[in-house]
């Protein structure tokens, strides 16, 4: 069976970036890693592309965290007139609020165990229980339990953080 890569790409890429973004917390980096995962997938042509992509993405994110490679830092966008013109005006207030919210989510996620976080993020990126079980090395019956625990901890941690912020 041949794989319709255009379709896989369209449906999976955004989920993959979303998944990676919550691991590396750098949107550009998440995009890069998702692209890298796809480049590898196009080369290997796995039978189950979506599951394969998430597995590779997870490994890439782990490698990234381990070696703290930031090749991106060597890449500097030079201003060119064309791009300056295209660039929309930034909105500092909106940016700030967004960053703050991201920070809260990140803190809440960081309070989870690694496995709970992985399972939660995979689920949030649209992976099925079967796929989550395979990738996280869990029995399929344990996925629901893990998700239940992860969701509760996330909600608790987020609320705690909010209360601290409000009290301040």
């Amino acid at each position: 069976m041949t794989i319709d890569w255009t379709e896989v790409y369209r449906t999976t890429f955004p989920d993959l970036v979303r998944f990676l973004h919550r691991k590396v917390w750098d949107l550009e980096r998440a995009q890069d890693l998702a692209q890298e995962a796809f480049v590898r997938a196009l080369r290997h042509e796995p039978k189950t592309p979506r599951a394969w992509l998430f597995q590779v993405a997870s490994n890439l994110a782990r490698d990234e965290a381990r070696t703290a490679i930031r090749r991106k830092r060597h890449l500097t966008l030079l201003k060119s007139e064309t791009e300056d013109r295209q660039k929309s005006m930034p909105d500092p207030a909106r940016d700030l609020a967004e960053r703050e919210r991201m920070g809260q989510v990140r803190d809440a996620l960081d309070s989870l165990s690694e496995r709970d976080r992985e399972v939660l993020l995979l689920w949030d990126a649209g992976q099925s229980y079967t796929e989550i079980a395979r990738q996280a090395g869990l029995a399929i019956g344990a996925v629901g339990t893990t998700l239940a625990r992860a969701r509760r901890r996330l909600a608790d941690a987020y609320q705690e953080k909010e209360q601290v912020d409000v009290a301040r």
Binding site: W5, T6, Y9, R10, F13, P14, V17, R18, H21, R22, L27, A30, Q31, Q35, F38, V39, R40, L42, R43, R71, H74, L75, T76, L77, L78, S80, E81, T82, E83, R101, M102, Q104, V105, R106, A108, L120, W123, D124, S128, Y129, T130, I140, G141, A142, V143, G144, T145, T146, L147, A148, A150, R151, R152, L154, A155, Y158
Partner: protein, 411 residues
Amino acid sequence: MSHVDEGTLHAYLDGALDELPFGDAQAIREHIATCPECSARLEEEQQIREDAITILSGALPHVELPPLEELRLRAEATSPPRASRSGRLHRMGWAASVMLAVGAGWMLRGDQVLPFSSSDGFNVPAQVPSLPPAPPVRSERDGSADEPSEKAASPVADRSSAASVSVAEAVAPLDVQAQSRRQIGDQERLAFAPSAAIVTDPARRVGFQLVAAREPVAFRDLLEEKPSPPVSRGVVELPQREIMVGGIEPVLPTPSLVAMRSSSDGGVAPQRDEREAPQGRVVSNASRSRGSASFANRRAPEGRDTWQDSGRRRGGVEGQLVVPGFELIFMEAIEVGSAAGGLRVVQRLTPGDTLELLHLPEGVQPSDLPALGDEGLGQFGMSRDGLWVVARARRSGQELEVLLERLDNNR
């Protein structure tokens, strides 16, 4: 049936009951519907589930979908040889067209196709028009300088004749001085006899050296200086740093030089690695004597580095000189201000569209470059071990970034 545990409640909420290997999904659904205790717990879990979803959606990135085609190109450009031990052993395709490409590049200079002409803010050291006579070819065994004999040349000449004609055709319309045309003719003869082409300027130590191969050849064979087939190898020598070009990618539709090496101190960093041919010599394995051509004006090797080490060494640069997959139109040495040792490479992206790569001299920043005169051009810079490479083309910054990444893929 007994009460439903929270994991199963979440599976129920997630619509994943049917994926579970145990229990009867229908029975679970019925129990939840009829058991007051379980329905109450379900409501509680549902709230938690929704909270989690709300929290996570608070960090939703805006995802840009780059064209899939770009990723396909990257996948093709980086497969199958990976940057591993064996990755160095590139098989080389027919590199004779490198000669052709270089020749054609001269022809195309000043053409409308190119986004820049040489005079666009760069000092281009004298090259072709001030060529010295071709360096003598030296046989390693007896160490004596000798012009390639007809005997040595003849076996290759037949195989290369087609390419020779192509080069001659490419060279013929060149609008250069008569002397340089003759010189190119000489290079051509030199090139397709022992499969070497050398262009040097002893005064400034600027030169291109390309050794052409017409048939696929393993890099290993090249390095071991096996008598045949003809090989491909090139050196671009610049006043302040040396760039080594070796190997031709066979997977790609157009040949491209795949490796670059430079030592910023200007010294020649010879290789001891057996898998690499010794630097400072040109393998001219098509000749019967298996001798090596050497630059008459080269510095003597100072034996202290290897190919592998140089990439890690501070100040040493190893990487690709051109973006794989695109036809090489030409390259030339450039100076920015008074800083020499830069290299400009122009490749063809599409029939009407070129990519220009500027390997800036040491110490030169992209901000030192003359401003872009053409508004349609985008540029993107990458710093590689302190040395800058700037890509320019009629493309977005993002596309240029992808191209630069391809440049780095085989590092």
